[in-house]
């Protein structure tokens, strides 16, 4: 990825090609590197033709759900009766994920260019880039880039604005993000209606993730066929993807590989493996909201949407969290549950109560006061938290708990049976 360490020969640097190169941040530097050529090309294309090219490339949303991008764009009304909006999701708050931050820090113009192209495709006149409040540096860099591009009148009549969040994971959920832009509490909305019909300010809206949009310019310049060929395993997963690797590996960081790349190689080769003397215990491959893999599953997992599902998990945002044999998974799962309890917007009873009780029960187990029945209670709770709420935050809390108990049950039982010293006070 070029920053903070040299790219590995097995990486395919498309999005990360200029990471670590401050000159690429400037408007002039970006143009020198072929930047804004794709935008020029897009301006000669009919909106539907841009959407068609993106459809053809096979690009899928990098924000977590993996929804086909071109198809999403095609849901926008063709005949324009009202203003259209684009929202750019730069809220990046899913534990384990830190790729959009690097795109904004190193190649802000790649995001702006992708944003402009998407706006043309969906016929939007206004675009909001929603950047989480804690991202002070990326915000400043984006602000500077936007000012430089605007001074050069790159975007014509299009209006692109930055909108700063104020600390709330849930605002990454698409309809919560729209409420937040409207000056409301970040509560997710009941769907339908979907954003393409009723989005931000009640008008037709498309929302895309930063990485998704940054992938659009190279798709136009190199052609959809080029992008489609970037696929090592399943043809339904195309292109390159940034994987943010964190936790107990030697070289955490962002790595860009072609879809279908083996997770094993990512961890043992690109990331330099575990710390000396340590072995891999578990891995969460798609941000904290997806099921945990054990060692065997991790070593068999191919990094594309289908490969992750085959191992019983999801590719999600591509945030890879690694645990070695020294990790206390009960404690770490409690810490994730606490995250969701803290971040629940509290609209739905199952989520508000479920995330809080899951955390409490796990804390009780860690304090040495767990009961044998607690594990069934946790699984029961998890079932009630899955598929029953306005958004999937609730399901996201259940995923690591259920997979954790299923795959690492003895660790929980050790605390309950008193074989392991309590690490928390009740």
């Amino acid at each position: 990825m070029g920053y903070p360490h040299k790219p590995h020969p097995k990486e395919t640097a498309v999005l990360s090609r200029y990471f670590g190169d401050p000159d690429a941040r400037t408007y002039k530097g970006w143009v020198k590197r072929g930047g804004y050529e794709a935008w020029k090309q897009a301006q000669t294309m009919a909106p539907a033709a841009i959407t068609e090219a993106v459809k053809e490339s096979g690009l899928r949303g990098r924000g977590g759900a993996g929804f086909p991008t071109g198809l999403k764009w095609s849901f926008m009304p063709k005949e324009k009766k009202k203003p259209h909006y684009l929202c750019v999701n730069a809220d990046e708050s899913e534990p384990g994920t830190f790729k959009d931050r690097e795109i904004m820090r190193w190649t802000p113009h790649a995001l702006l260019e992708g944003t402009a192209i998407a706006m043309r495709a969906i016929q939007a006149e206004v675009g909001y880039i929603y950047i989480r409040g804690e991202f002070t540096e990326p915000y400043a860099i984006m602000e500077q880039a936007l000012a430089e591009a605007s001074a050069a009148a790159v975007f014509g009549d299009l209006k692109i604005h930055l909108h700063r969040g104020a600390g709330a994971y849930i605002c990454g959920e698409e309809t919560a993000l729209m409420n937040s832009i409207e000056g409301k509490r970040g509560n997710p909305r009941i769907k339908p209606p979907f954003p393409a019909a009723v989005g931000v300010f009640g008008l037709p809206t498309t929302i895309n993730n930063v990485e998704t949009l940054a992938a659009v310019p190279p798709i136009l310049t190199n052609g959809p066929a080029w992008y489609k060929k970037l696929s090592l395993s399943n043809p339904k997963s195309t292109g390159t993807k940034l994987f943010s690797v964190c936790g107990q590996v030697q070289k955490p960081g962002n790595y860009e590989v072609t879809m279908g790349f083996p997770l094993k190689d990512l961890l043992y080769e690109l990331c330099g493996g575990m710390q000396p003397g340590r072995t891999l215990k578990a891995c969460i491959p798609g941000g904290s909201s997806v099921p945990i893999l054990n060692r065997d599953e991790t070593e068999s997992c191919l990094l594309d949407y289908e490969g992750a599902v085959e191992q019983g998990t999801m590719l999600g945002s591509g945030g890879v969290i690694v645990f070695d044999d020294s990790a206390d998974l009960v404690y770490q799962i409690m810490r994730l549950a606490r995250f969701y309890a803290h971040e629940s917007c509290a609209q739905c009873t199952q989520c508000r109560e479920g995330t809080a009780w899951t955390t409490k029960i796990l804390e009780r187990i860690l304090a040495g006061q767990g009961k044998t029945s607690d594990l069934d209670l946790l699984l029961d709770l998890a079932e009630n938290m899955t598929g029953k709420t306005i958004c999937v935050l609730s399901d996201s809390c259940a995923a690591p708990v259920v997979s954790g108990i299923k795959k690492f049950r003895s660790e929980f039982e050790d605390y309950i049976a008193g074989r392991r010293r309590p690490v928390m006070v009740a």
Binding site: D100, K159, H163, A166, Y169, G247, F323, R335
Partner: protein, 173 residues
């Protein structure tokens, strides 16, 4: 206006000095042009207040409400939803440390301990006796590969280790 202007409305006795005058008001007007509704400017307006005052008081909320055609109760409802808006004064150096799982597994709790000690803040959320430091734990800061990230006001600092904390704190003293 500097952070030291705070006591004026802390006591509730002095006449309220509006935030939105002169340059700040002009800034708000530029922001209003970006949204089709006045309400859309609420989050940016609250950021402006916090930048000017260091925190957002009830009287500030009333001022914002009047400017944007909202009720003070509504504005309060929004302020309380977002964790980054301060409803009370905080230390001159406001420190946010990530302790979510990926950072936790890399030793974030020790970073918190070292910060509480080096700043004299003693307790999470409490301000040090000299009024300079407030340390809080926060959830994932979106920089998990650079454990442990720490925000000191607007400075985002990566890869903080417990043994480096004392030196870091000295830089801000």
């Amino acid at each position: 206006m500097s952070v030291s202007a705070r006591p004026a409305h802390e006591t509730g006795m002095e006449e309220y000095q509006p935030v939105f005058t002169g340059k700040v008001l002009a800034e708000l007007q530029a922001i209003l042009a970006r949204y089709p509704t006045k309400q859309g400017a609420l989050l940016p307006a609250l950021w402006l207040v916090q930048q000017q005052r260091g925190w957002i008081s009830d009287r500030d909320m009333t001022e914002v409400a009047a400017l944007l055609g909202l009720t003070p109760a509504y504005v309060k409802g929004v302020v309380t939803f977002y964790t980054m808006y301060h409803q009370h004064p905080v230390g001159t150096h406001f420190v946010q440390v990530c302790t979510t799982s990926p950072c936790n597994i890399c030793g974030a709790e020790d970073v918190v301990k070292a910060l509480l000690e080096a700043t004299g803040a003693k307790e999470l959320g409490a301000t040090s006796p000299d009024g300079k430091w407030t340390v809080i734990e926060v959830e994932c800061l979106g920089a998990c590969g650079f454990a442990t990230p720490v925000l000191i006001n607007d400075d985002f600092i990566e890869s903080v280790r417990p043994e480096k904390v004392a030196e870091l704190v000295r830089k801000y003293q």
